[in-house]
């Protein structure tokens, strides 16, 4: 990079400017490439390999073909974890979309104290995930939890409910906590997109007599469509793979009612059956890969 140019330029140098630039470029990018190769690419391929073996801790096992996957699809816990993961992603996505977009539209109005409201709405996002889920676990306690007290205080006294205890309320409770923690990301992303929509378009539409609803439908939504898709896909990827939310609140209980794939894979690792545990996480790779490739293409087009 910082090679003195004068003595070399007398002959036709092997290291031309372009070559020197390329060499410097490779040198600077190599450390990150090594990290990616050793800590992401290799483990990824290795996970797929392990999922086709009968590996347990202390014994590499043998190649067993699709036996682990056959086992998974007949295993009640896996099917429940798969259903729960998909449900959790879809329901929280829908809720976060409406709450996030609604609030973003409100915050996009010219009102006083907008910055302050935005700061408050960001708080759940700034809070460490494990802290917020710990707090929600406490909030849902039958005695000493805040939800029952709060409901009683505002006039809905349902008595002493153990929200995370029974099957019927555990999943809704988990969904509420996940939405609370996740909606600020949607809201702020939408708000930023809304602020980039050119005002002239609205003025022109007003002149043409478009109603508020029509302006929303034909100007606002199409302008932020790209951000909506990216945020939805990113959030789905993260929710589907979130371990700590479920681990901290319910550990998948009661009896698998809130079991999700990352927690199931973790239990597989704890019981030392690596082959099956790896299969649990690899089983969703095809679906995950589709989401990842779409969002990657969109994020790169953005530039």
């Amino acid at each position: 990079m910082a090679v003195p140019a004068a003595p070399l330029s007398a002959r036709r140098p092997f290291l031309t400017m372009a070559r020197r630039e390329a060499l410097g470029g490779y040198l600077m990018v190599i450390p990150v490439c090594l990290v990616l190769l050793g800590l992401v690419a290799y483990p990824f391929v290795y996970a797929i390999y392990i999922s086709f073996t009968s590996r347990v801790v202390g014994d590499p096992g043998v190649f067993v073909g699709f036996r682990n996957y056959q086992f998974l699809f007949n295993w009640v816990s896996f099917n429940r974890a798969l259903t729960n993961t998909v449900t959790l992603v879809i329901v929280t996505d829908i809720l976060k979309f409406f709450i996030g977009l609604g609030l973003a539209l409100l915050l996009n109005e010219r009102i006083k104290g907008r910055g302050l409201f935005r700061s408050f709405i960001l708080l759940p996002w700034a809070m460490p995930a494990f802290v917020s889920y710990l707090t929600w676990r406490l909030l849902f306690l039958p005695i000493g939890g805040g939800i029952n007290l709060l409901l009683a205080a505002v006039g809905f006294d349902f008595g002493v409910i153990d929200w995370l205890g029974p099957r019927s309320t555990a999943m809704p409770a988990v969904i509420i906590a996940t939405v609370w923690r996740g909606f600020p990301f949607w809201c702020i992303s939408f708000l930023a997109a809304l602020q980039n929509v050119p005002q002239e378009q609205y003025e022109a539409a007003k002149v043409d007599g478009a109603s508020t609803w029509q302006r929303f439908l034909f100007i606002t939504l199409p302008s932020i469509r790209h951000v909506i898709i990216v945020v939805t896909l990113l959030s789905s990827i993260w929710t589907a793979n979130s371990f700590e939310s479920i681990w901290i609140m319910t550990q998948g209980g009661p009896s698998d009612a809130t079991m999700v794939l990352p927690v199931l894979a973790f239990f597989g690792l704890q019981s030392q059956r690596l082959g099956e545990a790896a299969a649990v996480s690899v089983a969703v790779v095809p679906a995950l890969a589709i989401l990842v490739f779409i969002v990657a293409a969109l994020l790169q087009r953005e530039e």
Binding site: L27, L122, L134, L138, F185, V207, S281
Partner: protein, 296 residues
Amino acid sequence: MATVSRAQVPAPAQEQSEARSRFGIPWRTIAIYVTLLIVCLIVLFPIYWMLTISFKTSRDIYRVPSLFPQAPTLINYETLLLKKNFLVNIRNSFIVASAATFVSVFISALASYSLVRLKYRFRGAIGKIILLAYLTPSSLLFIPLSVLVAQLNLGNSLHGLVIVYMTFATPFSTWLLMGYFKGIPPDLEEQAMVDGATRFGAMMRVLLPLSAPGLVAVGIFTFTGAWNELLLALIFITSEDKRTVPVGLQYLITGDVFLWGPIMAGAVFSALPVMILYFLAQRYMVQGLAAGSVKG
């Protein structure tokens, strides 16, 4: 459809009067404020609950449940710090998060400079791979990583954890920094090079100072990502004296007795540094978030 609704379209003047009633009461604005206030209360309630429980004795938590603390006490903080060795957890988290951030931001800054400013073959492909790596979740990698860590004898050590944290920290900070560097026009560096600066000099004296806010933001994001990480730390740390903050706290809930007071005191302790950082650097953080690229 369009023609039907067109008939109902109010003229702009009418719409103005909709927003403000006959008596000049701005109902629309009031509705917005009320909604936002309710949302703020919902957002703040769990945070408030974390704080009040951290100031209550266990007796008060269970026997006299109330929305407001009756007799605030610091006993939970005392228990946490003196009996539960929480300071050791904080120290471990601090070491791991700082080291992971330092190493990852350093190599990422070099890589993203190279990918954004220099021209060579495969740089487009490398950029794509970085993005794919960033989108690859740790929940997919922790099983093979556990095998690799055991083979390399890196288990139950803080430096092992730092190395493992590179899996998410490096692609993440490289991807973000590429975005920041792209936002800075190359003209300034080219000008400096015309004036006799080397490329390295131009990077050090022009690009880095200009992207300082970006570097700080990426540093904070990476630090908090490592500070908050639970899954990998739970797998790789086995002895009590090496536990990081999330691991230490989650062992408090899986114990026999749920010590909610000390647990929430710990929650306050772990959330405070991160939330203060976010608050101070809010503008840059929101920019990063708005780029649609920061984990929510």
